[in-house]
Amino acid sequence: MDAFGDYVWPRATSELILLPVTGLECVGDRLLAGEGPDLLVYNLDLGGHLRMVKRVQNLLGHFLIHGFRVRPEPKGDLDSEAMIAVFGSKGLKVVKVSWGQSHLRELWRSGLWNMSDWIWDVRWIEGNVAVALGHNSVVLYDPVIGCMLQDVPCTDRCTLSSACLVGDTWKELTIVAGAVSNELLIWYPATALTDNKPVAPDRRVSGHVGVIFSMSYLESKGLLATASEDRSVRLWKVGDLRVPGGRVQNIGHCFGHSARVWQVKLLENYLISAGEDCVCLVWSHEGEILQAFRGHRGRGIRAIATHERQAWVVTGGDDSGIRLWHLAGRGYPGLGVSSLSFKSPSRPGALKAVTLAGSWRVLAVTDVGSLYLYDLEVKSWEQLLEDNRFRSYCLLEAAPGPEGFGLCALANGEGLVKVVPINTPTAAVEQKLFQGKVHSLSWALRGYEELLLLASGPGGVIACLEISAAPTGKAIFVKERCRYLLPPSKQRWHTCSAFLPPGDFLVCGDRRGSVMLFPVRPCLFKKPGAGSKAITAAEAPGAGSGSGGSESVPTGIGPVSTLHSLHGKQGVTSVTCHGGYLYSTGRDSSYFQLFVHGGHLQPVLRQKACRGMNWVAGLRMVPDGSMVILGFHANEFVVWSPRSHEKLHIVNCGGGHRSWAFSDTEAAMAFTYLKDGEVMLYRALGGCIRPNVILREGLHGREITCVKRVGTVTLGPEFEVPNLEHPDSLEPGSEGPGLIDIVITGSEDTTVCVLALPTTTGSAHALTSVCNHISSVRALAVWAVGTPGGPQDTRPGLTAQVVSAGGRAEIHCFSVMVTPDASTPSRLACHVMHLSSHRLDEYWDRQRNKHKMIKVDPETRYMSLAICELDNDRPGLGPGPLVAAACSDGAVRLFLLQDSGRILHLLAESFHHKRCVLKVHSFTHEAPNQRRRLILCSAATDGSLAFWDLTTAMDKGSTTLELPAHPGLPYQMGTPSMTVQAHSCGVNSLHTLPTPEGHHLVASGSEDGSLHVFTLAVKMPEPEEADGEAELVPQLCVLEEYSVPCAHAAHVTGVKILSPKLMVSASIDQRLTFWRLGQGEPTFMNSTVYHVPDVADMDCWPVSPEFGHRCALAGQGLEVYNWYD
């Protein structure tokens, strides 16, 4: 933002960078993190919380930070001041900071020193720095004045892939270099006879079969660890490296990563490695894996830092997330699996089922009909009852609640259900419900007021039993309240049940994968006017074990709302209500967020569990407010956290088909299962909360392919966001209302993310992610942006409809609502609801035996989307916009969105381009006394642009849309109104702007680095004859046309015409360039080098007159720029 006068405005400045974290270092209780060229300093307190102290901006110019070296202080006082050498790529800079309690001040910074070659390692040598360079040379550099003191190459000038400098004086300086030949070269720069005389390597060590990416030397034990492309880590006994000629012995070869290993770090007792597989492994020096940290997403972990005093490991990922993990040593304290020693001569029979009543009582039933209790405090088995009617087939379920209400239920193959109070089994009550087998049992609990037991019998009938206890606690009462009936299916029984708050409905899931709602009090449901409290007191003590029940309720009440086969044929496994939403899990590896609106179930979002967890068995809310998913991953039981993407517990139980139970409380979680005829119990203290901390949330794990700004939310002062980035800035709250831009991004990681970008703090908050896509997301479009309360409502918030599209020819439509919420760090809450989806090859999924056939259809990808909002007076089609999609199979497709996005269907297509269509863009032409015309522009890999007049095409009776050959197929769009050959190859960006003269400026950027700008005129032919009825077709023509051939050195992936005089373009060559328009050829104004590589999309928008424009660049990361108009 310096020196405005030197430049032609506007000048873009970077506000926010989200890039892979490539540099991390712990200094005392501070964590240094490199983010692009910026240094972020965080304070770590004992709880492992992280607070950003300061962002030291733009240390390395256009280079990215790859590492830090803090100058060792002889007095060991790094708590108040530190000299930090920051390096990355070819750049080196030294910055001196003072960090008191929480304030950080930059005292001094050196110039940015450009090395002649890539910097692999830097080491402080008595006030100077030694730098290991890319072609195996070492330079001694004075970083204060920026001059080279020594420059010693090795005789072998091979390209290096890593290097490690050892020693504290130039004399003893040792370099271990990882060469492309996969060897380690050890040599001593100080042995050069004269300056610049090459030094021969002292030792060559081979072993790895891939290049070496990282090394770590542990002086105290004389060990060196290397991480390699060959997916292994080797541990070498090297002794004192500073002594020439020492023996190097490979003492460990650790294979544990399933991809390349990027980083390694040796500690006194551990070896930490992390790699492309996103796993950070903690090894002992003997080569055992003590811990594995999983949670980062994407292409791997790029940086490791350790805090040995606190036993913390901090990792930085490609997903730009930073996480803190606890080194626990061998095994975790307080958890483990134990056998409960059930097998005994005194307990005959084989175990049939096991369950948990709370987390400290285990119940088990055997095939001789005996029910046993194991109390973890007493540590012994006790027989509760024996009933041979429950021989051979017996279901066992304990009631929910912290201690299981002290109740459990048994059911047998003859329709008998028995409810047993665990403390007084003699008071058990039984009821014969059905003539046949009881297929399933489940409980539903509402607060402490209402407890129901549901039992599924033959023919899809569910008996609903109401359980109550006498005030003395000595007796229980079981009363059949009603019967429900499930929709017909082959395996017609329910699998789970829960009360829907406030308690008028029961939610059930069934074996067929459907989720449905049943009225809790059917008698009241029919007469909604009746009181609701009256019946709870009406206990019928004499209900007993009568047989009258089954005749008096002949059929059963059907569901009031059903989502048929929501979870597919494998069935629903659980239903949970929390925070106004309903969650269901199923064996289709997914869980759904649902909600009930007007007595009807509506799916909100489908979420996928972690990879490989095909059997999602349940969902729990843990005390810290987050959610954990229970499921089975092959033969393991896994507790997985969707928030941290971490597997919190893994129990090798053998799979989900055996009898198992899970229970968690704040203090502990328990999982019990049967294995080899024995009851096994896994317990973990601390329940499902892990002390691991997400220091900074990651964004997408893979490339971001598209970015779109939705709108702005203005928060009043009551939502004042604490300004963490600049705590010492002098204007607390003086900015007035906080503006927060809401931006959505789509990524190759198949998710769409809703981001909040406050204008004041320069931070980014991921609000929600949508995981409905099965392949990468490549395009986004937004329409119907409004406020939650409608146009009259002035309350802050934002609603919008979003369409996303990508690989496998898949489109999803969803709505986004952002509202203020003071309880979240971003001060916003985001609700997303999935509305509709469309796939071109959907029919394929429905085909039988598809694995035996070859699918000949192309794997079409959608490359770009444009919303075309037609006038509402279109006859016949009803309100709703068109969505135009650029398709990789050479088509431009038009979809119609109806019913506010709930219906999406393919309307028309054209194969005019015959090549992969890369971009579509729509705009309207408005002229006085003329109809508003909607024009679509499409562009393909051959560099041509085609313009389509959609208004004419959509008119009723128009001949532009050709009828399809077969009914059910889309219309054919015919030929475009005009084509322009703008570039020699693919068009990667496209934008238009109406001019004051009533024309349109069209700008496009191409793969060949060129820009093409022309003026498009839309002319209406004069109505010559009195042919009144015939629709006049406008003529398009090019007025002024300019081309800038070498505007960029690579693909121009973003172009935006900001005004008829100003245009901005962005390219993969990492330049954001402003162009002056309107005076003949576009002329270069200025350009800024940005840091996100492989930029795939750009979006620009004006924020406010004071703030100017913002521009989001998305590629392998995200960067936000702003400039003042």
């Binding site: 892979p20 004992l46 256009h62 002649s116 890539w118 072609h135 000038r157 390209t159 030949s181 891939g210 492309e229 060959d230 997916r231 292994s232 544990g256 399933s258 390349r260 990027w262 500690l267 006194e268 492994l281 090894w283 894996i289 003590l290 040995e308 080194l327 626990a328 061998r330 095994g331 304290p333 307080g334 483990g336 699996v337 090798n652 119990l681 896994y682 203290l685 601390g686 002390p691 070859i854 699918k855 000949v856 192309p858 794997e859 990808r861 992969c916 890369l918 890999t941 051959d942 020699s984 190859c985 060949d1008 051939p1045 050195a1049 060559d1069 330049r1071 350009s1087 590589p1093 492989d1094 392998q1116």
Partner: protein
Amino acid sequence: MGRTSKDKRDVYYRLAKENGWRARSAFKLLQLDEEFQLFKGVKRAVDLCAAPGSWSQVLSQKVGGQGSGQVVAVDLQAMAPLPGVIQIQGDITQLSTAKEIIQHFEGCPADLVVCDGAPDVTGLHDVDEYMQAQLLLAALNIATHVLKLGGCFVAKIFRGRDVTLLYSQLRIFFSSVLCAKPKSSRNSSIEAFAVCQGYDPPEGFIPDLTRPLLNHSYDTDFNQLDGPTRVIVPFVACGDLSAYDSDRTYSLDLDGGSEYKYTPPTQPPIAPPYQEACRLKKNGQLAKELLPQECSINSVDKLPQPLAIHTLLDPKVEDNEIHC
């Protein structure tokens, strides 16, 4: 996704397999030749970073006529043998490799040097771009030893942030430098080819393989970092318009004529670095995390302990200095 997915997504991948090319990149060289007549009058050609050998395949078929041309392929990795191609397994940064090439040409310099090498990308863009630039410069360095005056040099480039530095460096050695992108190279890929014609080193230049050629850096006059003066060479799209579009997804029955049949890859990789790791993984021999069930812990009966940080501390670590 089935094994046919890649055939549908990438028509050149499929055509390469069907035509017996070892990699789809064969089409890139063919299309470059269509545009620039690279092979015209060429008797001796060198293929640097040749593995898996698709460019050598093209060269051996196109260079010279009826076996009169000589092709030398150099790579650090082993490569399956190819008829009519002399293979050298060696490092292109070594002088001995240059001498060996000249030896094979009986002392004559080469007419054409091509290099389609790319480093194994790490995903860190700046590292990958640097590594690719070093590969190109190493190829250029060895080319200065073996290329005749007026000869031609074709090498893969990544068009990233610093590609203009490479252009300016190549311009020192060649009278004409162009950036070309064949149709068979995808739009989504940042790769392109520097086609350098008319080898003409600066006066007094002595080829020296003992010293690596280092990248240029930006200067304020001729090649600015963010100013209007940058060395951007003309861009040429190669391959005629009727050629298949590498970004387009084609149906498996291309011409409707012959029925699609899955073809396995022509030449699977030889001894990749991950071979051992994959073998261990296949046999379930990768080191596994010590799960709690394998640790003998009998803590079920212990009183719940708060998971405070200090209980997690390994006493042996506690006294150590911070090691950063």
